[in-house]
């Protein structure tokens, strides 16, 4: 299994480096332009209060608190942009695990060896977990580096860490259903499309539910409802139920995907 883990990690290296550098650069840019925001004299709190509450919630802005670096980072980056960037990493990674192997035929190389389907899938899942932690570390590095030469960037590390922890769980949940799509499909493109579209549908559902009270219950079936980025950036603690929902989605879909992959026919065309 270690050999397979190393192989998957090697295969993912280029993608990880690319996404890692991208996220690091984005973090650096965000941190670098923050002082100009805070010194501009604009009363951002007042400005933001003019926007509809639902819109602010959708972008993860908590209106009851003061505008800080952490809430700015949440609003401008972590609560939506980061998720969108990482969503593509997740969708492509999950598609590669099974569906891509079936569509390009390389899965036969593995299945003809004395290694179980379970180990093939698990080693990929392990690399994903390591990969997403690396991406989070790159993101955090981008917030930390500017502080070395500019102490005006006041970072509430506790709030940032909480946000990143919930983002990690959120990413795992997205990965869970993406992996499930990969395990039932033989087409890489379909998996990427299904993963990204379903995540975007969740986002839109959450957005609509915030506007229309009649369909407010919608929010409970979207993952975005359980990611309270705005609250986390103000220093509020992680709600255990939210974390459990993400963990539950990850576990249920991953186990379902593993079960289906064990049973399915692998018909390389």
């Amino acid at each position: 299994m270690l050999a397979l883990f190393k192989k998957v990690f090697k295969d993912s290296k280029t993608g990880l480096i690319g996404y890692g550098i991208g996220l690091l650069a984005y973090s650096l840019v965000m941190a670098a332009i923050y002082p100009s925001f805070s010194k501009s004299g604009l009363n951002l709190d007042e400005l933001l209060k003019n926007y509809p509450e639902a819109l602010m919630k959708a972008f993860g802005v908590e209106l009851t608190s003061k505008f800080t670096f952490t809430s700015y980072i949440g609003m401008e980056y972590l609560n939506l942009m980061w998720i969108i960037i990482v969503l593509f990493f997740i969708a492509f990674f999950a598609a590669k695990i099974i569906a891509a192997g079936v569509s390009d035929g390389t899965i036969e190389l593995l299945l003809s060896r004395p290694i179980s389907r379970l180990k093939i899938a698990l080693s990929n899942i392990m690399v994903f977990v390591v990969g997403i932690i690396i991406l989070e570390a790159a993101t955090l590095l981008g917030f930390w580096l500017p502080g070395l030469w500019n102490n005006t960037v006041g970072v509430d590390w506790s709030a940032i860490f909480n946000t990143m922890l919930v983002l990690l769980l959120f990413s795992l949940a997205i990965f869970g259903y993406s992996f499930f799509f990969s395990s039932i499909s033989s087409n890489r493109g379909k998996v990427v499309a299904l993963s990204t579209i379903s995540t975007l549908v969740f986002y839109i559902m959450n957005f609509i539910a915030l506007y229309w009270k009649q369909i407010e219950w919608f929010k409970h079936i979207t993952l975005f409802y359980y990611f309270r980025g705005g609250e986390l950036s103000t220093g509020k603690p992680i709600i255990v139920t939210d974390a459990l929902v993400f963990i539950g989605v990850f576990v249920v879909f991953t186990v379902a995907g593993l079960w289906y992959f064990q049973k399915r026919d692998v018909c390389v065309k």
Binding site: L4, G105, E108, S112, P114, V266, V268
Partner: protein, 292 residues
């Protein structure tokens, strides 16, 4: 028995790809699995390797259940896919190293020998290789663990004639060493060269199971015998022999079946020349396909 299938059946929607297939392959045997494209050869191989699961029936290798004990079986199997797919971004060397780690190691000298015999450039990326060179790496990775059973799906597709000769030579060497070989093919001359026994598959059903000698005996051979003396054409009215033309010093006949009685009939006379025109197995193969 190395391979045993009992009433193995697999359907894909309305298509019955493998239909109640029962066959046995003995230890040390080279078994040819014949049939045109779509006959069910690859599906059978995938069932044996547990890539796909049967609707009904049972398959075992080394006496172990292909579905339940697949991992144990795969320790001693070498598999070459019909259309070899390798990791494009890997070199032959890295790929071999990786696959060795999954198999618990390859025999280094043996890998070097295969590399030399098939003239494989192990340093080049798979994506830079031609189809034939990819096939060579496929052959290498199938043989590298010195398996007890080799499962080969159309093994020589893409290999140039020289490499095909090397491949057949290698198959004969492995057979001598006791390796069991199960190979599918639609190239009958290939099967004739290396196989002991063949199974002919049509629309998923096994329509014939024969020794290669039996199959060869069924071939219609055109025989021309030239005599130095007068002969009696009645001596050649034998079972399985059709006399086409009988001249004063020459007889033209078609032989279907045992050659021994004909040879005995010929030895009664002084001969000037004899010629046998050997059609390939294609004719026999077509005969089966037309009949059943």
């Amino acid at each position: 028995m190395i391979i045993k299938t009992e009433n193995l059946t697999k359907t894909f929607g309305p298509i019955r790809a493998v239909d109640n297939l029962s066959l046995e392959v003995k230890e040390g045997e080279v078994f040819g699995f014949l049939g045109p494209n779509g006959a069910g050869k690859t599906t059978t191989i995938r069932l044996l390797l547990d890539f796909i699961r049967p609707d009904s029936g049972h398959a075992s290798i080394f006496g172990l259940d292909c579905q339940k004990q697949g991992l144990e079986i795969k320790k001693d199997i070498g598999y070459l896919a019909g259309d070899v797919r390798l990791y494009d971004e890997y070199s032959g060397e890295y790929l071999t190293k990786f696959l060795a780690s999954l198999n618990g190691g390859f025999h280094k000298e043996w890998v070097n020998e295969l590399t030399r015999r098939f003239e494989i450039d192990m340093s080049r990326k798979v994506s830079d290789l031609s189809k034939g060179n990819k096939q060579k790496i496929g052959v290498l990775q199938a043989l590298a663990n010195k398996p007890k059973l080799l499962i080969l799906d159309e093994p020589t597709s893409g290999l140039d004639p020289l490499m095909q000769i090397e491949f057949y030579k290698l198959m004969k060497e492995l057979k001598k060493q006791g390796t069991t070989i199960f190979m599918s093919s639609h190239v009958l001359s290939e099967v004739e060269k290396v196989c002991d026994r063949v199974g002919i598959l049509k629309k998923g059903k096994l329509i014939a199971l024969k020794n290669i000698e039996e199959l060869q005996r069924e071939k219609a051979r055109v025989v021309n015998i030239y005599f130095k003396e007068n002969y009696n054409p009645d001596d050649f009215k034998l079972e399985g022999v059709d006399i086409q033309e009988a001249d004063k010093d020459h007889i033209h006949l078609i032989l279907r079946g045992e050659i021994d009685p004909l040879i005995k009939a010929m030895t009664k006379y002084h001969l000037r020349d004899v010629s046998f025109v050997e059609p390939d197995l294609e004719e026999v193969f077509l005969k089966y396909y037309e009949q059943k």
